[in-house]
């Protein structure tokens, strides 16, 4: 009896650790959706592909695929910066010309950019799943950082969680206590009024894409390390799920995206562990649907103006 309870609680704890890890990754991606939605009311469906690019670029820089092999941390840093820049370019090339167009046009363009970037990755890196060579990543990543009985928390899991927490706090500080953050919130509330106060809206939108895309890139790298797999469609599923997390939390709300990411990660892992692993995605979406049925604007959502 006692051993059964212990076994049960250790399974529970292990799932909890895995769920929190996955949730913090979803949260990192979800804030990118929610920030862009907040300022220009666009669901950037190509955000998942930025995350995929983060994984591929760090992989390429690490393995010297483009002629230069960088040390691990430098490769990560450069990959994140490239992602931030890619997000800015994506906005300037694909979305900015459509700022005054009906929202549907921008939405369709976003889906188009998602497919385009997936195929671009396919062209550059091929369809085969890549994995990081073990000798090029820090060895301690897969060693246990904490261990209680059967429950193991790897260093990588600790790093994922701490990175996510650190970046979310930094983001909150930027949004609430800087000139840029104030401008972002002002634009989210009234774009014309922000313009009338001298805010260069395009520039602030660019910074928003840079921040969101940088965080998405970090998430891509962390996931690539966690599952040790990099492939062109990896951004598609993670993107849809993080989008669901953002909706669950209330699209436009950063704390909502963080909470939504956490809930979705936990639902997926616990659903997979206790019900059936083949339904883990379905369970995660079911949780989202339930929340949306009860709170149509999401957990922290504002009442949305309905303009299609």
């Amino acid at each position: 009896m006692l051993t059964a309870i212990l076994e049960h609680s250790s399974l529970f704890l292990q799932q909890l650790v895995n769920g929190i890890t996955l949730g913090s990754i979803y949260a990192l991606i979800a804030v990118g959706y929610t920030m862009v939605y907040g300022v220009i009311q666009l669901i950037n469906f190509a955000h998942g592909e930025i995350y995929m690019l983060g994984a591929f670029i760090s992989f390429s820089l690490l393995t010297g695929l483009f002629g230069v092999g960088l040390p691990f941390w430098l490769a990560v840093l450069v990959a994140v910066l490239v992602c931030a820049l890619a997000g800015v370019l994506l906005d300037i090339v694909a979305y900015r010309p459509l700022r005054r167009a009906p929202r549907l046009a921008a939405l369709i363009t976003a889906i188009g950019m998602s497919i385009f970037l997936q195929n671009l990755a396919l062209l550059i890196w091929g369809a085969q799943i890549k994995s990081f060579p073990r000798n090029l990543i820090p060895a301690f990543f897969n060693e246990p950082a904490l261990q209680f009985g059967d429950v193991v928390v790897s260093w990588l899991q600790v790093i994922i969680l701490l990175t996510a927490i650190f970046l979310m706090l930094a983001l909150q500080l930027i949004v609430h206590y800087t000139r840029l953050g104030r401008a972002m919130r002002a634009i989210a509330q009234d774009k014309t009024a922000a313009s009338l106060m001298g805010v260069n809206v395009d520039r602030v939108v660019s910074y928003t894409f840079a921040l969101g895309s940088g965080l998405g890139g970090v998430a891509g790298i962390l996931v690539a390390l966690y599952y040790n797999a990099v492939y062109p469609t990896m951004g598609y599923f993670a993107g849809i799920k993080a989008f669901a997390a953002a909706v669950l939390g209330g699209i436009g709300s950063i704390p909502g995206a963080i909470l939504g990411g956490g809930i979705l990660g936990l639902a997926e892992v616990f659903g997979g562990g206790y019900i059936s692993s083949s339904y883990s995605d379905g369970i995660a979406y079911a949780v989202m649907i339930l929340v949306i049925l009860v709170k149509p604007n999401g957990l922290f959502g504002r009442q949305l103006r309905d303009k299609a």
Partner: protein
């Protein structure tokens, strides 16, 4: 040289010819008002000056140089700031943050802090509630916040769009006395109003706008006694 001069400004809003050759000028230190009925093109004129709308024809000169082709933020940096119709404060930002948004183009922190205190002196109710969200204020207080926010940009020329709209008579009086006080500080004011009587009483000079055109202009006291103005806008 006039501080601001609009020369034959035309603006098409889609297929609608919203401004049909507007000519208007204002000299430094004056209060001029633009009156007219709903839909005459008064707000459109201000939005064209603020570069939110880009005129297709004509020119807008500020200190003798054209403002056309400049972005809205460049207009604010040049010293023109608008208090838009319906106030359009940022409801989710605190009162202080709203005011700081007004100083968005300025960099000198000490000067911004000093102007913040100046605005709180002008509107004590804002100072008392500086940590509160802008959306919690009453209509009149929001109008004060919108004016204070524009003052934070250190404007030479303040564009006011319907500051009395939807306010109780006592509050209208208060807002107009504040506008007079601001003008007394040497800030030039272009006031768009439907409340023609109050606007003409305050202003030095007035323009009457109808369906996208200026149909009448004269010193404000002359417009106040003009039969056509009396009949159409003063309800006498």
């Amino acid at each position: 040289m006039p501080l601001l001069k609009l020369k034959d400004v035309h603006y098409y809003y889609g297929n609608i010819h919203a401004l049909k050759g507007v000519d208007l000028e204002i000299y430094a230190g004056e209060i001029r008002t633009l009156i007219g009925a709903n839909g005459a093109g008064k707000s459109t004129t201000l939005m064209a000056i603020s570069a939110i709308f880009k005129p297709q024809r004509g020119d807008i000169l500020y200190h003798g140089t054209s403002l056309l082709g400049r972005a809205p933020d460049a207009i604010v940096k040049a010293g023109l700031c608008q208090v838009p119709e319906g106030r359009r404060i940022f409801p989710g930002l605190t009162i202080q943050e709203n005011l700081e948004m007004g100083a968005y183009c300025r960099r000198v922190k000490a000067a911004i802090a000093a102007d913040l205190e100046m605005v709180y002196d002008l509107f004590p109710v804002l100072g008392e509630r500086r940590r509160q969200a802008g959306g919690t204020l009453s209509g009149g207080e929001q109008q004060m916040l919108a004016i204070g926010r524009a003052l934070m940009s250190q404007p030479q020329l303040l564009l006011l769009d319907e500051p009395s709209l939807g306010l109780a008579p006592l509050m209208v009086e208060k807002i107009f006395s504040i506008i007079e006080r601001i003008a007394g500080e040497g800030i030039t004011i272009l006031l768009v109003e439907q409340n023609a009587h109050a606007a003409l009483t305050l202003a030095d000079y007035g323009y009457v706008m109808e369906t996208g055109k200026i149909i009448l202009e004269a010193p404000a006291n002359e417009l106040l006694s003009d039969e056509r103005v009396k009949e159409a806008y003063l309800g006498e």
